[in-house]
Symmetry: C2
Subunit: 129 residues, 2 copies
DNA sequence: TATAGTCCTTCCAGTAACTGGAAGGTCAAG
DNA sequence: CTTGACCTTCCAGTTACTGGAAGGACTATA
């Protein structure tokens, strides 16, 4: 599969996938005779995983660790489990924070009259500090 | 409140708060005689809101829009409502994606034996493409 | 009152992770 | 056999910080 089709399927810009290829995060499965990058199913899965992880603030290096751990058969699965457990905690914390952000904005939308009057109480709905 | 105390309260690095001050995103309430930045309760609220929004991929400009809309009394609350509604959609989508990421990693943790054997099936638990 | 330590300031340079654009090769359709 | 939409590499620019230097300010203790 060529890079633009891969980009469509996984929801990342072509430029970004090319960048990931450059830095060795997800290398293409192969190259066509003309030098075009080729991506297979497992590469697509990795890209989707990375897209999600990146969207939620995990660094490239953290993503790399998870992928590398899998691909390096010398590492033990205990390492993977430990790393994944740590990230799971992070994600659960993020879920709570995201819910708070949702609540704030949702309350804002509900309390705005939306009739053109500039009395929208956005600040009064801000998070408790 | 001085910048380091503010940083502690809102969960942002001092450097970042100073940066937000420099770019005019959240300006300090005032300055002490010595020129120290001073932050009050409402500034802290703005900082917490921005921290959350930034963590979930909203750009500085998107944050600025929400804050500016509030502070610009010439804007109508309908504008705020519309903008906040759009962001709310984004957040709901993010909640779904975050749940998927959580499921992936959680399944990974559960299926890893954690006994040192390198047979952890991380890739087989990747998202469906 | 001196001095040590921990703040604070500005400024400037560096980093992470893209992102845009130029210059040029490839390929299917008409 | 050319047009247009792909693809390639390379290099420069952007966003949002982040680290460090140089120096001023405040607090506690000797």
């Amino acid at each position: 599969m060529k890079i633009s089709d891969a980009a469509l399927k996984v929801g990342l810009p072509v430029k970004t996938i090319r960048y990931y290829s450059d830095i060795g995060l997800v290398t293409p499965t192969g190259r066509s005779a003309a030098g075009y990058r080729d991506y297979d199913h497992s590469a697509l899965k990795k890209l989707v995983f990375i897209r999600r992880a990146r969207e939620f603030g995990f660094s490239i290096d953290e993503c790399r660790d998870l992928l590398d751990l899998y691909e390096d058969q010398n590492r033990s699965s205990a390492d993977v489990k430990h790393l994944a457990s740590l990230r799971l905690r992070d994600i659960e914390q993020k879920q709570k924070e995201l819910q708070l952000l949702h609540d704030e904005l949702s309350h804002l939308v509900q309390s705005c009259k939306g009739d053109g009057r500039p009395d929208c109480p956005i600040l009064s709905n801000f998070a408790q500090v």
